[in-house]
Amino acid sequence: MNMHQAEVVDHVEASGGYRILTVEVPSLAKTVKPGQFIHLRIPRMDGAVLRRPFSVYMAHGKEMAVLYKLVGRGTHSMKSIGKGEILSMIGPLGNGFPMLQSLKVPVLVAGGYGVAPLAFLASRIKKKGIVFIGGAKASDVLCVKDFKKLGWEVRIATDDGSAGEKGLVTKILDEWLSVLNPVELLEFFVCGPDGMLKAVAERAKRLDHTAWLSLDKHMGCGVGACLACVQKIKRNGVVSLLRVCREGPVFEASEIVWE
């Protein structure tokens, strides 16, 4: 973990309501792993005291990118960030996804901006797998091209049916699982809203597969000091409150104690 001065090299719209911010930050780009995040100080946000956490979407050579959704004050202020601007970021933060276990097929399940760390993960896995992407509408389905370029199979579901199948991403996941050879060894990597994480965790448990979930909690410091982001985790029979920013954001599904 370090403080970095990152120079903006590109900042574009990805689809309606989502943008991609690319920065040159060699030391960070070289070391960051899929599932890790950065804590960004958003410029020109008057009266703001907190940074905002974003998963790394891409890291290549000297460059690193985040893919973000416009939700509130911070992310809307980010729109004004221009090329050449210097941004302060802390990173890499968090544990990141573990390496894919040998002999296993990677199954990624993404909701909304949760696709960002998974696209980065897919780019670092040699084996080709399958990704299920869910969103409210077509513009919430991102990175499809990234996965296709890597030769991954992509399945899509949207709430309104404007892209892929109509319904929840777990519906198309269930359909796929039901026709699968039961001896196939799967390993799930999941990032999205809590409801989706929980639903995938249930399926992984039922079918006895490993699932890695990346959690999204409101953060203060991002480095483990403030205890704003804790999650109940059961390890070796002991339940404790672990910090999503430090011991997470990725946890094995069976360790998570859902409230």
């Binding site: 302060s88 802390i90 409101h218 480095v223 403030c226 205890l227 804790v230 409150l241």
Partner: protein, 309 residues
Amino acid sequence: MTRSKKWPEMGVTIAGIKMKNAVMVASGTFGYGPEYADLVDLNKLGAIVVKGISLNPWNGNNLPRLVEVPGGLVNAIGLQNPGAEKFIKEYMPFLRKYDLPVIVNIWGRSVEEYVEVAERFDSVKGVSALELNISCPNIKHGGIAFGTDPRMAKKVISSVRKRTRLPLIPKLSPNVSNVSMFARIAEDCGADAVSLINSLPAMVINVETRKPVLANVVGGLTGPAIHPVAVKMVWETANAVKIPVIGMGGINNAREALEFIIAGATAVAVGTANFTDPLTSLHVINGIEEYLKRHALNSIKELIGTVHT
């Protein structure tokens, strides 16, 4: 500890603790040390005040525990901590490696608990002082109740005083009409210094759901918004007691820290600003040094309590 001979003199002494400068990091905003150690050279800080410790482990409040507001944040962490034993075993060896005074912030739900946790630290190597949190708004029992009732304040401070040899720094509540009275109670009970301010009780409501944003319903406001309130209270307190005062509340830069010193604080603590920029405390130290030079002062001590009113 080697005292620097360089000009101007930045060092101060609080409750017998020699600090290389007057800038510490505030309880709850800097963890137990390791969290920020990759980013901040801990040897450069005047002191660290660690996150509040109780006798037994404590889980704190449900989430959300923190929300940003204009000019600050409202938190209701609820004093989650691993308990004294685990803190001593897991964090003190790390902290002892640094040339850094360690002030342990303690709290309890009863006078007995305060006393027990204080006693536990008496023989722990590397602990420079105890900060007695009698002002946290985020737990249902104790905390703020001790800091807003003169009799309770007297009881808890004098009870702890009798049972510890460590310097004692009660942390005063800003939620009283007369803070200097509580400072005098602390002084009379044998406190070595006082610190203030803790967070101000606050509430944020989501108008769409009409629900409080924080799971705990209410929390404590900190950050730039509370700075002028804190300066006023530090000024009143410094005028009321002879023991040193540690000032905090909304410090983002050297100027805001200097306001506390000029108002009468011997040292200051940086809190919420650590989240915004982890290097704030170091910038404050450099800024104070630059100020002393610019004003041709030989020592920060020449500045303490020099406000012209």
